[in-house]
């Protein structure tokens, strides 16, 4: 995936913001708990499947004192690491925001 790629939060996670941080647990593997610092939390919250990684890294630059190249590299690195654990989806094209849970209820 390149800087024009997209990332979307997986629906197979539990996640909550605690102060500056975001805590995430994969439902598929509850043995792992992830804690994202405030920069990573911003990337997580922006990963809606429709906002490109480049746009997300631009948001980081506008909020934090970080060079654009470093912000983009860090964002890409984080997305890849989280995707490896199944808590983010990556794609070269926008990812639909359809509700993953919608099924016939009882």
């Amino acid at each position: 995936m390149n800087q024009n790629g997209y990332a979307r939060r997986s629906s197979r996670v539990a996640a909550r913001r605690l102060g500056d941080e975001v805590v995430i647990m994969s439902i598929e593997n509850t043995a792992f708990l992830f804690s994202l610092n405030r920069v990573a939390a911003l990337i997580w919250e922006a990963a809606d499947g429709m906002t490109s990684i480049e746009e997300i890294s631009a948001r980081i630059c506008s909020r934090f004192d970080v060079a654009p190249k470093a912000a983009l590299e860090d964002a890409l690195d984080l997305v890849k690491r989280l995707a490896k654990h199944g808590i983010l989806q990556m794609s070269d094209t926008p990812i639909s925001a359809a509700n993953d849970f919608v099924q016939e209820s009882r």
Partner: protein, 370 residues
């Protein structure tokens, strides 16, 4: 507890965030367990809309761990609608159920929605014992069938094995059954009073001899010698410590919207039908009183030799009449663990003959009560 989870708890405490909430969806149940602390009549449960609104509030308040319990959660026809809403809000959901209403279709739906775990109550591997406790013929077979359905879907199942006089000798076989099913098991030797204060259920509790046997079972406690090591000296850190998470980073909400510090701590602290959850959480005088209590202020307990290793439950103490006082059931556990009677037990000794067998320690060789 993992270090990250500890850190998460510490952060939540510092930020005043209710990290974990147990929400009982209903007190109605299809079983009639002899040890149950609830009244099963419907006194006006929250509607689907009210519960969804409450879940929105809990998510905004920062709740991460959401336990959905009852009663029997599947007695609510809107259960899956509620669970779906909870998962859309990204809660880490734990379910507590007797599972008798879970078949393949329900297991599949739970898997699709994604939950952290499903806790299923199993009292014995023997049908006649389990079904006599639930007062529902065929309940063990149905619960075990459900566990198999859930396991087939790859879900994490935890068997909850509550110990009482009727089933104390069965827990090793329940553990073996859990292993066979590929599920985890927790053992709980505590029967609590009814929420209305009726203490008659306590007669079902295992006695001191059986408790001591449980606490000396290496399969349960691991390092038996370490587990039973003499209590260490009381220091300032112990005296300044908080009793448990109840009211600090966790609370309980009943099917009627009543908020309590914990399911086992029925101190009415507000109602979400009248007041927003966060207002109750931050401003309830009752919750703030619970938060103000450190070990230093505990009547009797602060000077008790067992203080440092005691699992004193403030809710059980409250149900005994004083939230700053001792919980006799935990005093008995401390006695079984350290061999040292607590300050509370010593003060009660003359009246406890026959209830707590203080004079018979050590009691390793005592027979297990059937």
């Amino acid at each position: 507890m993992s270090s990250l989870l500890q850190e998460m708890n510490a952060n939540a405490l510092k930020l005043g965030i209710p990290l974990g909430v147990q929400l009982d969806l209903t007190y109605r149940c299809n079983e009639r367990c002899i040890h149950c602390y609830l009244d099963h009549d419907d006194q006006g449960e929250m509607t689907t809309t009210e519960i969804k609104d409450l879940l929105d509030q809990l998510a905004n308040a920062g709740v991460f761990f959401l336990t959905l319990s009852g009663g029997e959660i599947l007695m609510r026809r809107d259960f899956f609608e509620i669970l779906e809403h909870a998962r859309v809000l990204a809660f880490c959901v734990k379910l507590k159920t007797n599972a008798v209403l879970i078949h393949e279709k329900e297991a599949e739906r739970i898997q699709a929605l994604g939950v952290e775990s499903i806790q299923v109550s199993i009292y014995s591997h023997r049908h006649e014992v389990h079904d006599a406790i639930t007062k529902m013929p065929g309940s063990l077979r149905r619960s075990l069938d459900a566990i198999r359905f859930l396991r087939t879907k790859g879900l994490r199942v935890i068997i909850a094995n509550v110990l009482m006089l009727k089933n104390i000798q069965d827990y090793p076989s329940v553990r073996a059954l859990a292993e066979e099913l590929g599920v985890e098991v927790t053992i709980d030797p505590t029967i609590t009073p009814k929420m209305d204060g009726d203490r008659s259920l306590l007669d079902l509790n295992i006695d001191q001899a059986a408790l001591s046997r449980v606490f000396h079972d290496q399969d349960l406690v691991g390092d038996v010698e370490g587990f039973h090591s003499p209590p260490s000296t009381i220091d300032d850190a112990t005296l300044d410590s908080l009793p448990c998470s109840a009211g600090h980073t966790a609370c309980y909400v009943s099917p009627y919207g009543d908020v309590y510090p914990c399911v086992q701590f029925p101190l009415p602290s507000g109602n979400v039908r009248r007041t927003k959850f966060l207002d109750i959480w931050h401003h309830s005088p009752q919750l703030n009183e619970v938060r103000s209590i450190s070990a230093r202020e505990l009547t009797g307990c602060s000077k008790c030799l067992n203080l440092k290793s005691c699992t004193r439950c403030p809710g059980l103490a409250y149900m005994e009449g004083n939230m700053r006082g001792p919980s006799t059931q935990d005093c008995e556990k401390s006695l079984a663990r350290t061999g040292i009677p607590s300050t509370n037990l010593l003060s009660k000794k003359p009246t406890l003959a026959g209830l707590v067998q203080i004079g018979r320690l050590p009691i390793l060789q005592s027979p297990v009560t059937a």
